[in-house]
């Protein structure tokens, strides 16, 4: 790990202002992803701003009947919150499908959204990676690409976003709240938080330097059957090959977002009109324009099959 200076911020505004004073600073909350990357010198911040003391660990009802989740709410606490379990089951399910008990006790809501890809070429500093070292090339394209993205990719990068939680947040139409170093706040729909790689895969979100996530708001519950189905190489503690977050209403309409297939949680609202027509028609729309590699083309069929299984489960059929 490279040496760095360290400070404990007291308020969100302090933290954002501290980040403005130190252009090479990073915020640290759970640390489960950042420290891992710092040990490998993939992340080399000159200054760390500990945001654990900001008092952002509340979960509160909003006036609109939704829920406001503080940025520092730990994944385990969010999954176990009675309102989340009752009204936003897909979020509980996605959270407990990720990581291990220990990591869920540490990882925060904001940190989970901002975690970086687990692409093995990103993690191996001997390999080219446009995300880690812009302009160095992509080892995954033409290399080992079984776990990689099939849609939303570019010639520069085919890495996936690894989060389960973010996929559920996407299907729930969450809003991310932030504060800037100048003290101004803004709200970013989760659909707009993550960027597709294009020519700049090192730019992963629309957050500005020093901008700090303070919370995530969920709109009023929409009812329906909440399902999160994750397929991975081990039955526990592994990243998704494909995951499907779904909210299906009794009339067969609903919403679906995918994990493990794209550089961001993948949802196409226009495709959802096809949901009542079944998994095949819907998936064809959802994945239109996909660019899989020979090694990960299986994900297209896998998505269709998981969606079919999810729709059957929602109808109450045995799966």
């Amino acid at each position: 790990m490279r040496p760095f200076t360290f400070e404990r911020a007291k308020t969100p505004a302090d933290a954002a202002a501290a980040a403005a004073r130190h252009p090479d600073a990073k915020f640290i909350a759970g640390g489960t992803n950042l420290l891992d990357l710092m040990k490998l010198q993939i992340e080399t911040p000159a200054h760390l701003i500990d945001v654990n003391g900001l008092g952002l660990e509340k979960i509160e009802a909003t006036q609109e009947g939704g829920l406001r989740i503080g940025a520092l709410v730990r994944n385990a606490d969010l999954a176990a919150h009675h309102r989340v379990r009752r009204d936003y089951g897909v979020l509980s399910r996605a959270l407990v499908a990720g990581a291990s008990g220990q990591l869920r006790n540490m990882a925060t809501t904001a940190g989970n959204l901002l975690q970086r890809t687990r692409c093995p070429y990103f993690y191996d500093t001997n390999q080219p990676c446009n995300k880690r070292l812009p302009g160095s090339g992509c080892g995954a394209i033409g290399g080992f690409s079984r776990p990689h993205a099939v849609i939303g990719v570019s010639d520069a990068c085919i890495a996936t976003h690894p989060s389960d939680m973010a996929v559920a947040m996407r299907v729930l139409d969450a809003t991310v709240e932030t504060i800037n170093p100048d003290g101004s706040a803004r709200k970013i729909p989760i659909a707009k938080l993550h960027c597709l790689p294009g020519d700049t895969p090192h730019i992963e979100t629309v957050l500005m330097p020093g901008e700090l996530i303070t919370g995530v708001t969920l709109p009023k519950p929409v009812g329906g059957k909440h399902i999160y189905h994750k397929v991975r190489d081990r039955s526990s503690f592994a990243f998704a090959l494909v995951s499907v977050a779904a909210i299906v209403q009794p009339d067969g309409t609903g919403r679906v977002a995918l994990g493990g297939v794209a550089p961001k949680p993948w949802r196409v609202e226009e495709a959802e009109a096809e949901l009542p027509r079944g998994a095949k028609v819907f998936t064809a729309r959802l994945l239109a324009g996909a660019r899989p590699t020979p090694e990960n083309a299986f994900k297209l069929r896998l998505v269709e099959r998981i969606v079919a299984s999810v729709l059957a489960e929602a109808k109450g059929a045995q799966v």
Binding site: G31, L35, A79, R93, A99, S236
Partner: protein
């Protein structure tokens, strides 16, 4: 003991441990091997002032004050500065669980958190759960059911298991919990899912599961 750091150690002054004996032996060999190459003096190794931070926390009920290189993980602070070597460094990337300790009531992997992030924390390591004379019931159960082979993962397994039973009691759901709104029970599937953050390379899983199941039956 001549080590001035013992002043800050919750272990306190004791006789030479097996570990210190081994380190002393290795250092002698290393020194012999490096003669004339020039080794860094202790002052050169000292962290720069700006890259060090003072932190106070409680470990196993005892207060500790440390001045630490900011890069020091909680695991390294426990092992290298406080000489609590029960918590083990396996993968050092949060995947094996050998370094599991409790911060407050919660199990965490101490390799993926910085010690300086724990100002005021109450930390419990395997040394604080039980002593050789007064084992924690979970330790007794691991011995009884032979829940280990080499023993390297055991402190992490035991800390994790104790905290995991509290999580079930608190009603926290897992990936295999069928009804999210019901109180979860410790079935075999629940146990295996909830303990998936602790790897046992020797494969003592069935005995580990028996030990935890026995204690769960008692505390349920």
């Amino acid at each position: 003991m001549h080590n001035p750091e013992n002043a800050e150690s919750p272990r306190g002054a004791t006789d030479l441990t097996r570990r210190e004996f081994l380190i002393a032996g290795t250092a002698t060999v290393a020194l012999t091997g490096c003669m004339g190459l020039g080794t860094k003096s202790a002052t050169e190794m000292k962290p720069q002032q700006a890259a060090a931070t003072r932190v106070s926390f409680h470990v196993n009920g005892k207060p500790c004050q440390l001045e630490l290189d900011n890069r020091t993980t909680l695991l390294d602070a426990l092992r290298e500065r406080l000489h609590l070597t029960g918590s083990k460094k396996g993968c050092d990337q949060g995947q094996c669980g050998a370094c599991t300790v409790m911060v407050g009531d919660r199990r965490v992997v101490s390799c993926l958190t910085l010690a300086v992030m724990h100002e005021g924390s109450l930390i419990t390591t395997i040394e604080g759960l039980g002593t050789p004379e007064h084992l924690h019931p979970m330790q007794t159960a691991f011995v009884k059911h032979d829940g280990y082979q080499c023993g390297y993962c055991t402190p992490g397994q035991i800390c994790s298991a104790v905290a995991m039973l509290r999580e079930i009691k608190a009603g926290m759901p897992s990936h295999v919990t069928s009804d999210l709104t019901a109180q979860p029970k410790l079935t075999a599937d629940e146990l295996r899912e909830r303990m998936s953050g602790n790897i046992c390379r020797c494969g003592a899983y069935s005995n580990i599961a028996e030990a935890i199941t026995e204690i769960a039956g008692r505390t349920a």
